[in-house]
């Protein structure tokens, strides 16, 4: 018997429903509007009234309209056929919807997430009598370049025995492929798909491991200075237009992981279009398959229903957990977590909850933490490992990081890639601020060299500030050269052209090589006798490096540029390395990379102090 209720109140996308029987928190219900059934989720229950967030436009509903409760939690379908799909926040396949409805997303239309017609070549790997539990593999199918494990549904608790298992053949996702028997003799038929409630984490692994292995994004400033680890978390806060989305787009293209799930959450629809249209065409050099075959897009953009936006990040992470369970490395890119937080805020305001800072609900922090905690590098019960890495952008109001969402996120992530308006205005892309950002993970370059270069940048920055006060003539040639070295490193290494076919992605091997070349130049004492000479030398070597960066790996151009660089460098190089202690003289950044955020702040203050000091020192000279 279906449990029903009737509407007694409507406020934008929230309806209040009076009911008689039992109603579950987070249960799905449908508001009946003529022939349309509008999907909704219970978000609060008080006595015989439930508040529901409706995932669609509520116009046209009225009091006494019928609401049907389903008794099911908000869930997604899991099974072969998820890869390559474009879903909305509730896992409706958008291409299919377009096929049926044309240009627009009319409300009340639901389509199953997994293609039911597709047949998959199933190979069993258990036999009758075998003992199984949830998430154990009963067989495999080939999904693109992956071996997709068909697993015992995650919600089945206890032990089961295989009674029947299908033979190797082609099956569609709904056909029975096994029959298993529980302790009490109950028989359960299995197909290749099952459902899982999105708000409940999947934790069917043996242990969570330390995320020690770097995740190569092929973005130099990230891999070299502020690395991300497989199973780790990172965030990209930045003001509008600073380059968050572009950074995530190139990451989704170039990151060395098995599967990428793009969660376009409350941002522009246009931004996913490129991915949709181009990924099927781009061949992934590692698998030889189109990039789309390793990608899932969950797209609930800004003009799509706000309640579904709130759900969309959970839809994404649940699919990630499913693939991690097969021993794969999954990367989730959520753009933007602020829009998700705002959806929570809208909901909270309609529930008339007591608001916290900037009207965000009091549970904002724990909700954000709960989401990022679903990442992780894990050892599965079969001994294999799998990982979920989460990278979320944050869009702070007014570009000010001292706001609730950024602060709550910074508390839980392992790396912070802060974008700065100054850098993006000066077209220094990717606009990750090297003096503000930090990472707790170990990357492809040893920590000592990492810190060393950050120190150089910090020193160069100080000199820039100093020059603003005392002018170029007020600083020594040695300082001037240090400044030029910092600029040089920034120009040719940290900055990377996202729209250049070659420069867009730098392999690990290439990064290590260029980094060591640059480090040699930075560490060297150069035979430069005045500031004009110095500037001209660095202009020339920068030019060579820029050409070098856009030359195909090991091509003739590449080798020729390399030769020219070394000729130029050797001409000016002096023996000895006495410059190095000089950089360290006023080291600002401790090598301990733990209390990074606080560190970057204190560094800032210290910078200010230094500045004053320097000014005094120089005052006599002027």
């Amino acid at each position: 018997m279906k449990n029903r209720g009737k509407i007694v109140g409507i406020n934008k996308n929230m309806i209040t429903v009076e009911f008689a029987g039992d109603v579950k928190q987070n249960e799905v219900a449908y508001a009946v509007l003529g022939d349309n059934r509008l999907k909704a989720e219970v978000i609060r229950i008080r006595k015989n009234r439930a508040d529901l967030q409706v995932f669609e436009d509520t116009r046209g509903l009225k009091t006494d309209d019928i609401v049907e409760f389903t008794g099911e939690l908000l869930s997604v379908e899991l099974g072969p056929g998820l890869l390559g799909q474009l879903y909305d926040g509730l896992q409706n396949p958008l291409h299919k919807l377009a096929g049926e409805l044309g240009f627009f997303l009319h409300r009340g239309k639901h389509i199953n997430a997994l293609p039911e017609e597709t047949e998959w070549a199933f190979t069993p790997c258990v036999k009758p009598g075998d003992k199984l539990q949830a998430a154990d593999t009963v067989g495999t199918v080939k999904e693109g370049s992956f071996t997709h494990k068909i697993m015992v549904p995650f919600h089945l608790s206890g032990r089961y025995e295989v009674v029947e298992i299908a033979e190797s053949n082609k099956y569609s996702v709904k056909e029975q492929i096994a029959l298993i028997k529980g302790k009490r003799g109950q028989l359960i038929p299995l197909s290749m798909m099952f459902e899982w409630p999105i708000r409940i984490p999947v934790t069917l692994y043996r242990e969570r491991l330390d995320p020690a292995e770097p995740l190569i994004t092929r973005i130099r400033i990230i891999d070299t200075l502020f690395p991300v680890a497989k199973g780790g978390t990172y965030c990209i806060p930045g003001p509008f237009g600073a380059g968050k989305t572009v950074l995530q787009q190139i990451t989704s293209r170039n990151a060395k992981v098995d599967i990428v799930i793009v969660a376009a959450c409350g941002e522009r629809a246009g931004e996913v279009v490129e991915t949709i249209k181009e990924f099927p065409e781009i061949i992934d050099p590692f698998t030889g398959m189109p990039l789309m075959e390793r990608t899932i897009i969950v797209c609930n953009t800004s003009s799509m229903p706000v309640a579904a936006r709130e759900a969309s990040v959970y839809t994404a992470i649940t699919m990630a957990e499913y693939y991690r369970q097969m021993g794969l490395d999954v990367l989730i890119l959520a753009d933007s977590t602020s829009r998700w937080a705002q959806a929570m805020r809208e909901r909270s305001s309609r529930l008339e909850e007591i608001p916290g800072e900037e009207a965000f609900p009091a549970y904002l922090e724990s909700t954000i933490a709960g989401f990022y905690e679903r990442s992780g590098f894990v050892r599965l019960r079969d001994g294999n490992t799998g990982s979920i890495t989460i990278g979320g952008t944050v869009s702070p109001a007014g570009g000010n990081f001292e706001e609730p969402v950024t602060q709550a996120t910074l508390k839980v992530v392992g790396a912070f890639h802060g974008l700065s308006r100054d850098r993006s205005d000066a077209r220094r892309y990717p606009a990750i601020d090297p003096l503000e950002s930090w990472s707790k993970y170990t990357g492809i370059i040893d920590n000592q060299s990492r810190n060393h270069t950050v120190r150089l940048l910090s020193k160069a920055h100080e000199i820039v500030q100093m020059m603003k006060v005392v002018g170029e003539e007020g600083i020594t040639l040695a300082d001037y050269i240090l400044y030029l070295k910092g600029e040089f490193f920034d120009n040719v290494y940290l900055q990377q052209n996202a729209f250049d076919a070659v420069d867009m992605a730098t392999s690990e091997e290439r990064q290590k090589k260029i980094f060591s070349m640059i480090k040699e130049i930075i560490d060297a004492t150069l035979d430069l006798n005045n500031k004009d000479d110095a500037r001209s030398f660095f202009n020339r070597i920068r030019q060579l490096f820029l050409d070098y960066n856009s030359a195909e790996w090991n091509s003739n151009d590449f080798l020729e540029n390399e030769r020219l660089i070394s000729v130029l460098f050797l001409k000016y190089r002096k023996a000895g390395k006495e410059i190095e202690p000089y950089i360290f003289r006023q080291a600002l950044v401790e090598s301990d990379m733990d209390s990074h955020f606080i560190r970057s702040k204190t560094a800032k203050i210290k910078k200010g102090e230094k500045l004053l000091m320097v000014k005094e020192e120089n005052e006599e000279d002027i």
Binding site: H95, G270, V273, R427, F499
Partner: protein, 435 residues
């Protein structure tokens, strides 16, 4: 069947509350008061209580006034007859012409399926180098002019509208000063563009709430023309007024404000409108160019801030010119790879060099001696501002690119520009004048 009530229980702000049954959420009603008829929309239902937002405001509305529910949402007439006409914020004629009542369509239709969107591909040439060369405007883009009151933003809007090769121009005015309205109307008229334009104008003298409908009406009409194959340019000025109207209603409804009094859903509200910009496969397109005035030139104010997070870029109009910093067209990369090979690198280099110029200026202002290289930058800045930034400059893109190279070569050695050697070889002008 129409339902008629005449017992209003509560009046506050622009919202009236009455007891009624069988009323649909979002339904339209007509409130008849001594000041005449006004539309009103159902914005909340709580048991038997129905909350209505009265477009003309609640001033003069009496508890005994008649409220007639229409049983349908806001609709608007759509046909070719709209062309050349001028309406107010709720679609009533403002030009003395006949009211249009045929072929009614609902406003605020559903969202376009992202799967059906196209990658933007055609550039809208404006003849303004700061747009064409540095931040190209692209068909189906949504972009805003960030500015302050007193700047010539409506002039810029009109200029772009007249230059752009589009089929239809729709102007949505919100809180327009009457002389601005006349200026826009007269400019379109004198350039012979009025016959392909439709104006929905809410002036500063009209009831505040009425301006809320302006973007919805303008964009619904635009969308329908686009579906019929037309390229439509929608001009919305000034969205700050639209946001302030939203704020007023939110406060009346006792919503907890999130930031400086603006409601927490400001982002979603703005996005719902701006996301109407689209390019339909095998049909037309909607491009949105809006104006957002920033109080105190503060871009972190919630209105420009939320707008910046939604639009595909912004033009900073300051001191009568479009600033190279902060101005950004996020779709430019779709079109500037096909114009000329040097377009992108030249654009990047020129802006980077201009950033250095600004630093040099700062140094100079502090009284430091200018080095030889500093002087080059100073010269560069002046040439750039005079020959490209000045809003009175009007030239096609090709010419703007050539001008850019000429400015560079007049000030710098090739390797000072950071442009790749291969491009230098192809584009660096032969004769070089050094300082």
């Amino acid at each position: 069947m129409k339902k008629i009530y005449n017992k209003i229980m509560q009046i506050s702000g622009n919202v009236v509350v009455l007891s009624a049954t069988g009323i649909k959420y979002g339904e339209l009603a007509v409130v008849t008061s001594e000041r005449g008829d006004s539309f009103a929309e159902v914005i909340r239902i709580d048991g038997k209580l129905v909350y209505l937002q009265v477009f003309a405001g609640s001033g003069g509305v009496s508890t005994g006034d008649e409220v007639r529910f229409l049983g349908k949402q806001m609709e608007i007439s759509f046909s070719e007859n709209l062309l050349g006409r001028i309406f107010d914020g709720t679609g009533r004629p403002r030009d003395g012409g006949p009211a249009l009542t045929k072929n009614l369509i609902e406003i605020c239709g559903p969202t376009v399926n992202p799967a059906k969107r196209l990658i933007p591909s055609s550039m809208i040439h404006t003849g303004i180098p700061m747009i064409d060369l540095f931040n190209s405007l692209v068909e189906s883009q949504k972009i805003s002019i960030f500015t302050t009151s007193g700047e010539p933003y409506n002039e810029l809007l009109a200029r772009v509208a007249l230059q752009a090769k589009v089929d239809i121009i729709i102007l949505g005015g919100m809180g327009l000063r009457y002389d601005d309205y006349l200026f826009l109307k007269n400019t379109l008229e004198s350039e012979g563009a009025l016959s392909r334009s439709i104006l929905y104008v809410h002036t500063a003298a009209d009831p505040v709430v009425e301006c809320i409908m302006v973007p919805d009406i303008s964009l619904t009409v635009a969308e329908n023309f686009a579906l019929r194959g037309k390229k439509v340019l929608v001009l919305l000025t000034d969205m700050k007024n639209f946001c302030d109207a939203l704020k007023e209603i939110a406060i009346t409804m006792e919503q907890v404000p999130s930031n400086r009094g603006y409601p927490g859903d400001l982002y979603s509200q703005l996005a719902a409108r701006y996301e109407k910009a689209v390019d339909f496969e095998n049909a037309g397109s909607v491009t949105i160019l809006s104006v957002t005035t920033m109080p105190g030139n503060d871009v972190t104010h919630p209105v420009p801030d939320n707008t910046g997070y939604i639009t595909e870029g912004q033009y900073y109009l300051n001191n009568g010119r479009i600033e190279p910093f902060g101005s950004l067209s996020r779709l430019k990369q779709y079109v500037n790879k096909k114009t000329r090979d040097d377009h992108r690198p030249l654009m990047d280099a020129m802006v980077q060099l201009y950033a250095y110029y600004q630093e040099v200026l700062e140094k100079k202002a502090m009284g430091f001696r200018m080095t030889r290289s500093d002087n080059r930058f100073l010269k560069y800045g002046v040439l750039f501002e005079r020959n490209l930034m000045n809003l009175s400059v009007e030239m096609p893109l090709e010419e703007a690119l050539d001008t850019g190279w000429r400015i560079l070569s007049a000030c710098f050695d090739p390797e000072e520009t950071g442009i790749r050697t291969e491009l230098i070889k192809r584009f660096w002008p032969e004769s070089k004048t050094t300082d």
